[in-house]
Amino acid sequence: MNFTPEEWTAILLSLKVASIATLCALPIGTGLAWLLARRDFWGKTILNGIIHLPLVLPPVVTGYLLLLAFGRRGPAGAFLDQCCGIVLSFRWTGAALAAGIMGLPLMVRAVRLTIEAIDSRLEHAAATLGASPLRVFFTITLPLALPGLVAGSILAFAKALGEFGATITFVSSIPGETQTIALAIYGLTQVPGGDAAALRLAAVSIVISLAALAASEVMARRLSRRIAGFA
């Protein structure tokens, strides 16, 4: 297939946005999942609700809230601009933030389920062997939760790749800056004669999604086999 430079830009931008979004959501999501799975604290239900909000809210609302908070005049946006010179609104970094926030609940759900399935007495056993809570987390919980981390990352990546509503509301659809595959396809369907190009991009997103899914299957199988001792 021959892609036009504009199409290439959209494809590479999509991959960049989705990868960065997933990489940033991974440690945050894992930490939150561990908190929800293993700790009891005041406000746990509220935290859980907030994490899941992007899953149930109309994406446009999430995007609008992001715009209010992280726009140049928003409190978080102004702070980031002044302290670190990071601007999110109408930039690809903003697209990554929107995609990451939309993917986070999926990540947290997948990782939390895996952590809850780990026998907590294994963690107790590690503690009696002198391991601090931090060491227990990194040497026992995290390795045993790896299949969930992989599954959660793939879900978040796929969500980020397809994210539309929050992204277009927060950072608009600027070619070369925030126009991901999904936004490009939408743009193409709005102009006469864009059907062929839209179809080509649709095929690309199908291929990327299937490849990600296959990769996660292979990795999950290899990981669980190693844990079961048949490596």
């Binding site: 107790h124 062997l129 001792g229």
Partner: protein, 353 residues
Amino acid sequence: MIEADFTLHRPAFDLHARFTTGPGVTALFGPSGSGKSTILNAIAGLETPTAGRIVAGTSLFFDSGKRKNLAPHRRRIGYVFQDALLFPHLSVAGNLRYGSRRRTDMTAIVDLLGLGALLERQPARLSGGERQRVAIGRALLSDPVLLLMDEPLASLDIARKQEILPYIESLRDRFHLPVLYVSHAIDEVIRLADQVLMVEQGRIMASGAPETVLASHLDSGRFTQISVLTATAKSFDSRYGLTTLEHKAGLISIAGRLEAGHESRIAVRATDVTLALAPPKDMSVRTALYGNIASIAITQSPVATVKVELAGGQTLDVSVTRKAIDDLGLDKGQAVWCLIKAVSIDERWLGSA
């Protein structure tokens, strides 16, 4: 070693544990659900008592008054769980190394527990007995000041138990490590324990030497009535496969081999003893212990319990029918011979004193 006095409240369960333990093996013995494992968890710091105090040696583990609760990983306790709980993603060597301190000698423990051939394996590929051995090794390598064992043999069959028991005995004898051993199997307690804590319904009902605690607290009907005798192995007859042990009240013949000079504890079920008014002859029974009737407990049941004080001072409980008591005219102070079939003293019931 351990001084504990604490309470732990849970919705349907109340534990009040107050005890001290000495060196050697202390068995926490009692029925399932009596609170034995909860006591171990409280000592390990895996469960927090509602109130009270736990001290191990010189280190204060828990004191509700001083708001002190030492984190589990700072307590230096080895814990062997019933189902081993090996880390499934690590090899045997990885499991052993997990808590290992530089001071501990890995090869010595690997040799002691016979783990050399297993080091590269994953836990999923070990048998139950092997897993338990690795768990014991892993706990020992963390160089603990105290070893907690929660029914480490409960999930194993008799053959596997026989495989592990000698290792636990050698911990006691070679490492001089205080061990708190939870069990509801009386044979393990008899074989291993220097001290017994009887736990029932969240309370410590009795504590002391196994001979006395087990003998006086097994009458509840919950357990088979058992007496514990101490005797010294004298000789082994290889032709018949019998070991003769010396007891002040007479010779005891048992099936199986014991090292000569080995002081052993023997558990005898009250129902396995026959009373005779004269020394036996023309009988198949090889073991006859001489003593005097100390008391006769008669209830509504057709079976009564006769306590015989054996020559040398130990007491043997004997189950006889009320009819037999009347027919023989048994009475307090009377001289009797207690006949015990050699086959009724199973090798499993032997422990070294």
